[in-house]
């Protein structure tokens, strides 16, 4: 990847110049198209028919894939092992959930025109200030990006300014998501406590329980993944991306050649958090619930496992990893639920031992075998 001549490295000027990006986007859009066709055009009885449940499941995987891309951006390229990206995902999800709650209106169990059910249950008489504005879609959608972005900005500013890196940073990101989980579990926080937010009905006027809306959400998530991928690719192939790799490998050196490393780290961290928030916002209407379990440290660690399994610092590896692990999770938890964590552990051990660069590393190896002259040409 790093041995190409410089003319093809300036991605902002020719966004689709890279083969890996073309292939990735091609495969992604082909998959979206095939699923859509098999769902809409193939009759229900046919073995090729993809049912609404599966479409919804794929939509969920795609939002996980976007989350994995966000983690790969900071871990693979910047060397920041964030064990708290689930927090940004969950906050984006809560922002979307708050909008969906306000859309319910007076159709809740208690029939209150403004207050969500859980607030009526807690005997609250008015909306807390931070729930204001979430009845407007534009405001809620802006918050999907801004709320995780702001948290990442404050957290990152403090951490990077104090030059907290490596394992210490991983630990405090883990602490961050754990603290948020405990906070969101409290009923007094006003986010539905233990039960979270659920019983959603409509998104922008579309009924969330209809199959067409599910297909729409699946496609929207696919497009968001493509856009997120393109954005990350643009960042990592720019000069800024090379500064990130330089920071990852030799932070002090990067500082000495004149880059304000902490600002670059902060910028990329915030972008990544916003993407994670977007992923969360697309995830929530598809699964129909958001609750504090998304903040659980275990989930954040699992995201890192997806990326490691797929292959770090490739972006498409993160997508492959997220898809594979979550598909395996669906299969395993269906067949033998108790064995899932063992299977996940075994998968991780096997990949670390046999494929240190993940599945993406395997793909790269295959390609290099086919065209062994590439590196020699570059030498000459």
């Amino acid at each position: 990847m790093m041995t190409q001549p410089p003319s093809s490295q300036f991605w902002l000027t020719c966004p689709f110049g890279e083969r890996a990006t073309q292939v990735f986007l091609g495969v992604l859009f082909a998959a979206l198209l095939i699923v859509t066709v098999l769902h809409v055009a193939v009759p229900q009885g046919s073995p090729l028919h993809v049912n609404a449940y599966t479409v919804n499941l794929f939509g969920k995987y795609l939002s996980y894939a976007l989350l994995a891309v966000a983690v790969d951006l900071v871990w693979g390229y910047l060397g920041i092992l964030s064990l708290g990206h689930g927090a940004f995902f969950a906050i984006g999800g809560y922002a979307m959930g708050m909008y969906l709650m306000r859309q319910i209106g007076d159709r809740g169990t208690y029939g209150h025109p403004v207050l969500p059910d859980f607030m009526v249950f807690l005997n609250w008489d008015s909306l807390p200030w931070y729930w204001q504005g979430f009845d407007m879609a534009w405001f809620a959608f802006a918050m999907v990006l801004l709320a995780p972005g702001l948290l990442a900005l404050v957290f990152g500013f403090l951490a990077f300014r104090s030059r907290v890196t490596g394992v210490y940073l991983s630990i405090i990101t883990q602490a961050l998501t754990f603290a948020l989980m405990l906070a969101f579990f409290r009923n007094e926080m006003g986010f539905g406590g233990n039960n979270g937010l659920t019983d959603f009905r409509e998104l922008l006027g579309f009924n969330l329980r209809s199959n067409d809306t599910r297909l729409g959400l699946f496609l929207a998530t696919g497009v968001a993944l493509a856009l997120g991928y393109i954005l990350c690719r643009a960042i990592v192939t720019s000069k800024l991306g090379r500064v990130c790799v330089a920071t990852r490998d030799a932070e002090a050196r990067t500082r000495f050649i004149g880059y304000r490393v902490e600002r670059f780290q902060l910028f990329v961290f915030v972008v990544s958090a916003m993407l994670a928030g977007l992923a969360g916002a697309l995830y929530v209407p598809q699964v129909g619930i958001i609750n504090p379990s998304e903040f659980s440290p275990l989930f954040s660690i699992e995201i890192v496992l997806w990326v490691a399994l797929g292959g770090r610092a490739t972006l498409y590896g993160a997508v492959i990893g997220a898809m594979l692990v979550n598909y395996a999770k669906t299969v395993f938890t269906g067949v033998m639920p108790d064995a899932w964590l063992f299977a996940l552990g075994a998968m991780f051990v096997l990949v670390t031992v046999l494929l240190p660069k993940g599945v993406a590393g395997l793909l790269q190896k295959q390609r290099r075998k086919k065209t062994p002259t590439i590196t020699k040409e570059a030498t000459a």
Binding site: M2, T3, Q4, P5, P6, S7, Q9, F10, L12, T13, I235, S238, K239, L240, R242, V243, V245, A246, R248, D249, A250, A252, R253, T254, R255, F256, I257, G258, Y259, R260, R263, F264, F267, A378, T379
Partner: protein, 278 residues
Amino acid sequence: MSLLQSLRTRDRVFEFMAPAASPVDVRHGPILYMEDVTVSFDGFKAINNLNLTIDNGELRCIIGPNGAGKTTMMDIITGKTRPTEGSVWFGSRHNLLNMNEPEIASLGIGRKFQKPTVFEALSVFENLELAMAADKRIFPTLTARMTGEIKDRIDEVLETIGLTTLRFQPAGILSHGQKQWLEIGMLLMQRPRLLLVDEPVAGMTEQEMERTAELLTGLAGKQSVVVVEHDMGFVRSIARKVTVLHQGSVLAEGSMDQVSNDPNVVEVYLGADDEEAA
């Protein structure tokens, strides 16, 4: 707080009126003044009342036994360590003690570390590209494009350090000597006024050493170069003026012959070294 301090310093009042990127003032000759500099770490004086002046365009070698304060001196100049006392000026306009590491780097002081640290995952070309003097803020970096001018400059430096044929190879595969040259090349990309080079020939073969000597003497005149080195043969081959440090201050200064005949120097350093060598 720092504003109050700057107001108290009489010679620096109205700092805001000076243009931000004012050029280094070397009209008086020297490019670096260190005056009465002392650094103490918990009472231990790593640098003790050090006075050192480097002229513009000079190639200076700094020698001294282990613990003489050579690396600490470099740390002070690059802003990594703050002295307890004393003043450090770059030219006669810039007080280095008021600046942080990136500011000092962008002013034109480049440092080569003892252990070569290059960005191993990036190609030789990309290493040089990142090091180049440019607007290093986030958005200019994000939207930076490769122009013909930049390419020419990189090619020129690649030529100087003799790595043209390896330009698209990842820096990780370079030999030890090649990494040292790449690092010097990275410093050159910043068009530095002053180069600080820490033990450039440690671990090099005889041939690589010759090539490095050529490289450094070729740079002097265009840039000021300060070389810290243990290898006496190498120092003899490049030095015009040598400074001997001992216990944090200057023990002797002069040509290699003058210095090596100084009885103090013979006692603390060269004598011991010669005995070892013999």
